[in-house]
Amino acid sequence: MSTIDMKPTLRVGARRRPDAAATDDGASLTVADHRSLHEHLLMTRVVEERGVRLYKQGKIPGSFYDGRGQEATSVGAAFALGPDDVISSPLIRDLGAHLVRGTDLTELFRHYMGRENALSHGREGNIHFGDRRLGIVGPVSMLPDMMVVAVGLAMGFRIRGERRIALSFFGDGSTSRGDWHEAMNVAGLRREPVVFVCENNQLAYSTPTDRQFRVRPADRAAGYGVAAEVVDGNDVVAVFDAVGRARERALDGGGPTLIEAETMRMHGHGAHDDARYVDPELRAAWAARDPLDAHATIARAHGIDVEALRAEVEERVAVAVQAAAATPLPDPASATEGVFCVGEPAGLGRGAAPFSGFAATAQGTRTAAGPTATADPLTAQTRQAA
C-alpha cells in the first residue's frame, strides 16, 4: 500500500481569483454578527464532538459523519442567506448550515439517536435530514443529486419572480458525477439564481483530488458560463462575503456562481474511519488553520468572550442530549406511514437569517413571501398507510 500516492496536494493560503468581484472583507458584519457567527461555529463543533462520542458509545445507531475543520464553510455560507432562500441541501460536512437556519438542538439529537423527532421521524439518520419548515431540503445520499434539485428550485423562483435563491453544497468528489455536469450546464444556460458551494476538502473518502480530476472545479465553471470564485473555506468571513456576492449576482439576474471553498477534512470520512491514509504533515498544516481559532481572534478583537460563549453552547448541547436520550424510539406502526402525501402538500418554510443585514426581513411575517410553514413536517393529514 503506497501512502505516498494517497497524499492530497497541499494548498494552503488559497486566495480569491483575480476576476472575483471586490469583497467587503466582512465590513458589513456587526459585533452581534460576529458573536452569532462564532456561536454557530462553536455549536457545530460541540454538537459534532458530542455526536462522535455518542456514536462510539453506541447511542447513535448506524454511522456518524462530521465536518471537523470545515465548520466555517457551512456556517459562513448559510449566514449569507435570507430567510426565503432555500438550501438543497446541506451535505455530510454541513451541520453548520442547519444550525444557522435554526434547527432545534433537541430535535437534532433525537434524530441522530433514532428517537421520535420532528425532523425525520426516525426515517433518516446521521446527517441525512433537513427541516423543511426552515427552508431546507434534506439531502439524498447520491452525490450530487440535490444540486439538480437546487437548480429546479431556482428555476421556480425565477419563473414566479420571487427574490430568493437556492444554494447547494457538495464536495470535490461530487464534481465527477454526471449530475454535476447537468446541473452546471442547465443553471448556466438559463442563468438560474442558484449558488453552488463546492467544499474542496482534498479528499473524497480515501481518494485525493488528483485522482478525481485534472482541473480544479472552479476552473471548470467557465465552461458552463458560470461565474466562479475560490475562497479560503476556513475563513468564515471570506465564505460569508463570497456567498453574499454570489447571492446578489443571482438576485440581479447574473446567474449562478460556483464557489470553491478550500478546506481540509480533519477527521475520517465517518466516525468509523481513522483516516490513516492522510499525510500527517498535511493534517498538521491544516490544523494550524483551524477555522474556530481563526475566528476566535476576530471575535475577541470585537470584545466577545469566546470562552463564555463556548460554556454556554456546551450547556445547551448537554441539555439537548439529555432531552433526546429521554425520548422514546418512533412507534413501529408509523414505519409504513407517509410514503405518499395525502391532501394539501406542506411546503418549505422560512429559515432563520441571523445576519444583521437581514434582520428586518427575518422579523417579517412568516407567511409573507414563502410558502406557509406548519408545525410538523409530517402532519397527521399528510400521512398515509403504505
Partner: protein, 324 residues
C-alpha cells in the same frame, strides 16, 4: 364531448390543466416550438410562453431533478421523456430523489413524468420498452397507464393534481389508433381499475395497449366459442386496485394476466402473486400470464411480432385455461 385520438386527449388534458392552474409547466426535449417528438405538446409554447413550456438540453437527470426542485418551489411540472426508454438516464433522480422525498422529509413532490412507452412499430430495443415494473418496485411513485382517450385525459389531469410524483405511461401504439369520445373540460379519472367488459368464464387482466388486445381476444372467444370473458383494465399500477382484481377472480375463477413488458418481475407477476395469495380459494385453474419473453424488443417485424403478446396468443392461452 369530442371524438379524439389518445394523443389528442393527452394534449387536451395538458392544455386544460395549464389553463386552469398557472403552476403547471412542461419540460422536455423539443417540447417547445417543435411540439415534441410525437406532437403531444404542439401549440402549448405559443399559448403559454417559454417559461411554462421549456425545451431542455438532452439531460434526463436534469429534466427530472429540476422538476423535483420546481415542485418543491410550488410549481406542478409535467416533464416528458422523449421515449420512455430514456428514463433510464434519469432513473436515480426519479427513484431516489422524487420517490423517497415525502417519506423522508415530509416534503411533497407534485410532478408528472410522461413516458411514451411500448412497441409494435419496429422501434427496436431502445424505443419499445415498458419500464413500469422498475418504478412499481420503487416506493413513493404512483404509476398510471391509460388504455383509452377518455382515461388518458382524466388520468393525466388527476396525475397533475396529485401531490405525489406520478409516472404517466402513454402507449405510443395507441397514440393515433385509439379514438373515442372525450368529455370536455377538466375531469379526473380515479386511480382504480375498470371492468371494460363483463364475463363469467375467465378474467383477462391488462393495462395500456394490452387492453384492446384483450378485448379483441374476448370478441373472438365470444364469436367462435360462445364464451364470455371479463376484461379488467388496471389503469393504475400504483396504487394497484387489489379489490377489483380479487373481485373479478371471485366472479370467474380463472384468470389470465397480460403484460406487454418483459415477463420477469413485471406488473403481471405482481398481480399473479396477489391472486395466488389472496384469491387462492377462488381459483379453478392456474394463474396464467402472457408477456414479452425476457429479450430486448427486436426491430424486425417478424421478430417483434414473435415476442409481443397479441390477440391470437391471448385466445390460445385463454382456451387452454378454459379447458383446464
Amino acid at each position: 364531448m369530442a371524438t379524439l385520438t389518445y394523443l389528442q386527449a393527452i394534449s387536451d388534458g395538458l392544455r386544460e390543466e395549464m389553463r386552469a392552474d398557472d403552476r403547471v409547466l412542461v419540460l422536455g426535449e423539443d417540447v417547445g416550438a417543435f411540439g415534441g417528438a410525437f406532437k403531444v405538446t404542439d401549440g402549448l409554447q405559443a399559448e403559454f410562453g417559454e417559461d411554462r413550456v421549456q425545451d431542455t438540453p438532452i439531460a434526463e437527470a436534469a429534466i427530472i431533478g429540476t422538476s423535483v426542485g420546481a415542485a418543491l418551489a410550488g410549481l406542478r411540472p409535467v416533464c416528458e421523456m422523449q421515449f420512455s426508454d430514456f428514463v433510464a438516464c434519469g432513473f436515480d433522480q426519479l427513484v431516489n430523489v422524487a420517490g423517497k422525498m415525502h417519506y423522508r422529509t415530509g416534503l411533497a413532490v407534485p410532478m408528472v413524468v410522461r413516458l411514451p412507452t411500448g412497441g409494435g412499430f419496429a422501434g427496436g430495443p431502445f424505443h419499445s420498452q415498458n419500464p413500469e415494473a422498475w418504478f412499481m418496485h420503487a416506493p413513493g411513485l404512483k404509476i398510471v397507464a391509460p388504455s383509452t382517450p377518455e382515461d388518458a385525459k382524466g388520468l393525466l389531469i388527476a396525475a397533475i393534481r396529485d401531490p405525489n410524483p406520478v409516472c404517466f405511461l402513454e402507449h405510443k401504439h395507441l397514440y393515433r389508433r385509439a379514438k373515442g369520445e372525450v368529455p370536455d373540460g377538466g375531469y379526473e379519472t380515479p386511480f382504480t381499475a375498470r371492468t371494460v367488459r363483463e364475463g363469467d368464464a375467465l378474467s383477462i387482466v391488462a393495462y395500456g395497449a394490452m387492453v384492446s388486445a384483450a378485448l379483441d381476444a374476448a370478441d373472438r372467444l365470444w364469436d367462435e366459442d360462445r364464451v364470455l370473458v371479463e376484461v379488467l383494465d388496471l389503469r393504475s399500477l400504483v396504487p394497484l386496485d387489489e379489490d377489483a382484481i380479487l373481485a373479478t377472480v371471485t366472479r370467474t375463477n380463472r384468470v389470465l394476466i397480460v403484460d406487454e413488458a418483459n415477463a420477469t418481475c413485471a406488473a403481471g407477476a405482481q398481480v399473479a402473486a396477489l391472486i395466488a395469495d389472496r384469491a387462492f380459494g377462488d381459483l379453478d385453474a392456474p394463474v396464467r400470464r402472457l408477456a414479452a419473453p425476457d429479450v430486448p424488443i427486436p426491430f424486425s417485424p417478424s421478430l417483434e411480432a414473435a415476442v409481443l403478446p397479441d390477440p391470437d396468443r391471448i385466445v390460445e392461452v385463454a382456451r387452454e385455461l378454459l379447458a383446464y
